[in-house]
């Protein structure tokens, strides 16, 4: 059987015109020669993707990853080379692309599905499923014009149509990060069931965490070249260490401004001027699990002592979940009064976190809780973990097999139907009686 996608020596040249000469007159005035510059968006890409594989294309903006995806989808034709695909291909580049605001939801399902290459009989068979997937709200308004839909409903209907086209190959361009959390979960569930049934998935993203979550293989692109293909963890590590140094792009930071809307009367009496992330082994701008990490918060206060200052930090993972938070008050430390400029440091001893991008929130407030300054998830830092374990925290775990071993005597025992013995007052959550998933050994010892 032919591979799902076979990319052979694909290059794509884009012509950047120095000025926008799109009319005939302008071209004639310039004697048919408009100054331009050739720019290779893709350079000799070779990649073979087997059926059932899930591959993530990683890269920054302008790396060519989206161009490659569009070439695979057939939206853009490569300048050189060839892409062969076998199987029905559906691209989720934009949900609800081509929805007609004046048509009803039902009419749009038919139109959109036929744009995606579905036959009328197929659509009719799947109509209920599509409407069902889009959710109750959409179902109620299915015969209303789409222009009356909320943007959430619009996206839900778009995804419902696209995923129900029943593709063999699904191309996804970061669209899964849409809608509310419940719907996102639903989408991811649907994508993973698509994978389970042998579908081929190609995801374009700049988020290594997304690749780790859904992909079996990854490819990193930089300036139109494929710099590495292989196991997601290896590729992500390369990507982090080679390509992400110093490029915590500004586009992620804007939200932070929002938080300042609730200004306290003490706002900026003490100001955070900068935050430094001190990694264990500079210049490597990642921290490995088990290594120490230091956050240095530079502040500037007025001429008078500020006596009741409390400094706090909070770490969030890429899903926006709070991983850890503390402050000097909770730590039982009364900080010395501050005046003028200075630095407050938080030292984390053995960072027990998994691979990923995290964000640091720092704040200064007084004992009464009134804020001096607050940076919400504004400081990113990278953790590179060697293993493939999953979850939020990295727990040092060992595993052993006891032949002829029995359970009981140690702690509470659970059977399928619930707790086997009566809960006693001395019960404590058992440790070590239920090794989690099939990790062999994992721990900071293997890092570095």
């Amino acid at each position: 059987m032919a591979p799902a996608i076979e990319i052979e020596h694909v290059s794509k040249r884009s012509r950047l015109y120095h000025e926008q000469f799109t009319s005939l007159k302008e071209r004639i005035l310039h004697g048919g020669k408009v100054p331009f510059e050739d720019f290779w968006a893709l350079k000799d890409i070779n990649l073979s993707i087997e059926h059932g594989e899930s591959i993530g294309l990683l890269g920054h903006n302008g790396s060519g990853k989206s161009t490659l995806l569009k070439c695979i989808a057939g939206i853009i034709r490569p300048t050189e080379g060839e892409i062969r695909s076998s199987g029905r291909l559906a691209a989720l580049l934009e949900l609800g692309a081509g929805f007609q605001p004046d048509l009803s939801g039902r009419e749009n399902i038919f139109l959109n599905a036929s744009i995606l290459g579905m036959k009328r009989v197929e659509i009719e068979k799947r109509l209920d499923e599509i409407v069902d997937f889009a959710g109750e709200e959409v179902e109620r308004m299915i015969d209303n014009q789409v222009k009356y839909y909320s943007s959430g409903m619009y996206v839900r209907l778009g995804f419902a149509v696209a995923i129900n086209v029943d593709p063999d190959i699904l191309l996804v361009d970061e669209v899964l990060a849409v809608g509310d959390e419940a719907f996102q979960r639903k989408c991811l569930d649907r994508v993973s069931s698509f994978q389970r049934y042998g579908g081929t998935l190609i995801v374009v993203t700049h988020s290594p965490d997304m690749v780790r979550q859904v992909c079996t293989r990854a490819a990193a692109l930089n300036h139109g070249e494929m710099i590495e293909v292989g196991d997601p963890n290896d590729v992500i590590r390369t990507f982090r260490e080679r390509l992400m140094t110093g490029v915590y792009s500004v586009d992620d930071v804007d939200d932070a401004e929002m938080v300042k809307s609730e200004l306290s009367p003490l706002w900026h009496e003490v100001e955070i001027t900068a935050v430094e992330v001190v990694y264990a082994e500079p210049p490597r701008e990642t921290v490995r699990s088990g290594e120490p990490l230091q956050f240095r918060i530079a502040y500037r206060a007025g001429g008078a002592d500020v006596t009741d200052i409390v400094a706090g930090i909070a770490l969030y993972n890429s899903m926006g979940q709070l991983v850890y938070g503390t402050n000097s008050h909770l730590m039982g430390q009364d900080l010395d009064p501050v005046r003028g400029q200075g630095v407050i440091s938080f030292n984390i001893k053995d960072l027990p976190l998994l691979d990923g991008t995290y964000r640091l929130t720092v704040g200064l407030h007084n004992l009464g809780g009134l804020q001096y300054d607050h940076w919400e998830q504004q400081v990113p830092f990278q953790v590179a973990a060697p293993g493939r374990d999953i979850g939020i925290a990295r727990l040092e775990t060992t595993i052993e097999v006891e032949a002829d071993g029995t359970i009981g005597g140690g702690g509470p025992v659970f059977t399928r139907s619930g707790r086997a013995d009566k809960p006693g007052p001395a019960d404590q959550p058992g440790s070590g009686d239920k090794p989690g998933r099939a990790e062999k050994t994992a721990g900071p010892g293997t890092a570095g």
Binding site: A2, S14, T22, S23, L24, K25, R27, K70, C71, I72, A73, G74, I75, I76, R77, P78, T79, E80, G81, E82, I83, R84, S85, S86, G87, R88, L89, A91, L93, E94, A97, G98, Q100, D102, L103, E107, F110, L111, S114, I115, L116, G117, K119, R120, Q145, D166, P167, D168, F194, Y197, G198, G199
Partner: protein, 298 residues
């Protein structure tokens, strides 16, 4: 997943015309759906709905009647019917190409995000105007029936043939225009003017022979026949209006249509049909060659 379809597709620097045609045929349902959408959207939120398609020719007939019998009377009997014989089919050409020229540009959001054979877009534009033309023709039929006009029954088979030829020619231009307009947006402005000139250059408001006999002095009788749409309109007029010479025998006698038989019409129609087919193939080549960059140019 469930479907084990073995759809093989190759995207390379070069795409054969044949594979494009295979793609278009495979997406014929989309074509139908887009035509349906076009018509639905056009009359959405209007009380009369598709009746508007009928109001237009009906009012045109009324206006022409008033102008050419009361304001500027001429000697041609039922001049309105002569006019309408040519106007409707020319409108199809005019509206079809005008809708097609912006069809790719106007659907930019779609073209940039979803793959499908983009030729479908101008085809759907022509398709929608064709459906419109069929609706409008019913008004024409009513008008002819109302005055119990004696149409040329023997020439009537020319009508479907002329429609097919007109469709071929319109489609060829539509596909070419849609592709060229992506790069040179001048096209859509230029087209409006070109169509106006084309309309007056086609024997619709005047009879073919009225021009031809003046040109005969310079041996240029063949010149208007180079206009493919002149032949389409002539065929319509011959079959429907069915009067070659009006007011015969009187001093004001006017010759409208050339003195040719049925076979001549069939012959020239087939010739125009063949030329249009070649043009269509050429247009599809142009479209295919520029299609790969549509997503970037929009």
């Amino acid at each position: 997943m469930a479907s084990q379809s073995s759809e093989l597709r190759t995207t390379g620097a070069k795409v054969t015309l044949r594979s494009r045609i295979v793609d278009i045929v495979a997406y014929r349902e989309l074509l139908v759906n887009l035509v349906r959408k076009e018509l639905k959207v056009r009359y959405k939120n209007s009380v009369l709905g598709f009746m508007w398609s009928l109001v237009n020719p009906a009012v045109t007939i009324g206006v022409f009647y008033i102008i050419f019998t009361l304001v500027l009377p001429n000697s041609i009997p039922y001049f309105v019917l002569f006019l309408m014989s040519g106007v409707l089919i020319f409108n199809m050409f005019q509206n079809g190409t005008a809708a097609a020229v912006g069809s790719v540009v106007g659907n930019g959001s779609l073209v940039k995000k979803v793959w499908f054979p983009r030729e479908i877009l101008p085809l759907a534009a022509v398709g929608a105007t064709f459906v419109d033309f069929l609706l409008q023709s019913s008004v024409l039929v009513i008008a002819f029936a109302a005055v119990r006009w004696r149409v040329g029954w023997g020439y009537l088979p020319l009508v479907p043939l002329a429609i097919v030829v007109a469709l071929l020619f319109t489609t060829a231009l539509a596909v070419w225009l849609a592709a060229v307009n992506v790069k040179y947006r001048d096209m859509q402005h230029f087209l409006g003017i070109a169509l106006m000139v084309w309309f007056w250059g086609t024997p619709i408001i005047y009879g073919f022979e009225q021009v031809a006999h003046r040109l005969s002095r310079y041996h240029l009788t063949w010149l208007p026949l180079l206009n493919p749409y002149a032949i389409v309109c002539l065929s319509f007029q011959r079959a429907l209006y069915n009067r070659r010479v009006v007011n015969a025998g009187k001093p004001t006698q006017t010759v409208l249509l050339p003195n040719h038989g049925y076979l001549w019409y069939v012959g020239v129609l087939l010739l125009v049909g063949a030329v249009s087919s070649i043009l269509l193939v050429g247009a599809m080549r142009v479209f295919r060659n520029s299609e790969g960059n549509f997503a970037e140019e929009l």
